[in-house]
Amino acid sequence: MQKNNNYRLGLKHVIYIVMTLGFITVVAQPFNDRKDIGNVSDNSIKPNAEISSIVSSDNNDANKKREQESADAFKEAYKVFMHPRCMNCHPSGDAPLQGDDSHIHAQNVTRGKDGKGVYAMKCSNCHQKENTSGLNMPPGDPDWHLPPAIMKMVFQGKTPAQLAAQFKDQKQTGKTLQQMLKHVEEDHLVINSGWNPGDGRTKPPLSHAEFAAKFKEWIEKGAVIPK
């Protein structure tokens, strides 16, 4: 790590000298989604012939690092996606799951077309706007529901690679990655069911802020599908 930093420092000096001599051209960043990079100088400068080999190998290193960071961020967020508080409403079947053992919801509740239940078995017939107080009482939210039948957004049984690939496939999500980020960051159902789950239920391993930050990092660093 130390060695790498020294190398980068040296490289920067080379670049600054080159700039003062007017030999290089500044161009736009090669990718639009790279605004979050702290150390942008290496990427924003088109190298001249003399230093091109050094800079391009540095670019490759930076790209690889960035890809690794994206994949690692997804793997962290994945721990939350697969936690029962999140996965229980993203089941592989049509019935939601319950409990930390993710058993099928009592009463064999089903999603229905809109994800809000069927007939006398609508989610909101039991799930109120807020948690009902008491151990293992129904948790609440003003819009308690599963994903709808046309867009099931299954998490259950998926590997990190499968889940990331699904998130990137708009045919399976109906949302852009930015819209999905909004769901993760702002949807009160995500926040309430995950981090205010009611007595008797465990919370996901990351805080909501940490989780949202990891998901955002995954997207902003290229939404790389982890191996």
């Binding site: 009592a106 009463q107 064999n108 509740v109 089903t110 069927v118 007939y119 006398a120 078995m121 609508k122 909101s124 017939n125 039991c126 109120q128 706007k129 009902t132 008491g134 293992n136 009482m137 129904p138």
Partner: protein
């Protein structure tokens, strides 16, 4: 003071807004047809209609029903579906001890309104939240089919 419309009549009740609808119905309005079963929305005995939805009144705070329309078993036979269900229930002799039956009927009414000719699968999906410890499920099923066929 909370204003409620129950079975077509307006009531002003002086209760804590977090009080479950069930206890307002039973204790304040003396409509005792709706039963207390599990107290945690697991059994369906307390099912009433709130704006046509089969809510579990044991955990639904009365604040949610302010200004809304509640219907209980006492007014079930006031509409055509309820009348047919009542008749079918008698013809099939459905109840044994009877404790869960007002909930069963309220759930069945919601099912028939949404699905006038339900299949066995529809009945399973719509009625699986109403538990009967006497095990009258087969007669509940037959009675729902019978009510559907009465049209």
């Amino acid at each position: 003071m909370i204003t409620l419309k129950v079975n077509g009549k307006d009531y002003n009740v002086d209760v804590d807004p977090s009080t479950p609808i069930l206890w307002v119905l039973r204790d304040a309005l003396e409509l005792t047809g709706t039963k207390f079963g599990c107290g945690m929305a697991q059994c369906g005995a307390c099912t009433v209609h709130l704006n046509g939805d089969a809510v579990r009144s044991c955990i639904t705070p009365v604040a949610r029903a302010a200004g809304q329309e509640i219907k209980t078993i006492e007014s079930l036979s006031e509409d055509a579906i309820g009348k047919r269900l009542q008749k079918a229930w008698i013809e099939e002799d459905v109840p044994q001890c009877g404790y869960c039956q007002s909930g069963q009927l309220m759930a069945a009414a919601v099912l028939l309104k949404a699905k006038p000719n339900p299949t066995d699968n529809d009945i399973d999906l719509g009625m699986s939240g109403n538990i009967c410890r006497c095990g009258t499920y087969q007669r509940v099923r037959k009675a729902i089919h019978r009510a559907a066929d009465m049209k």
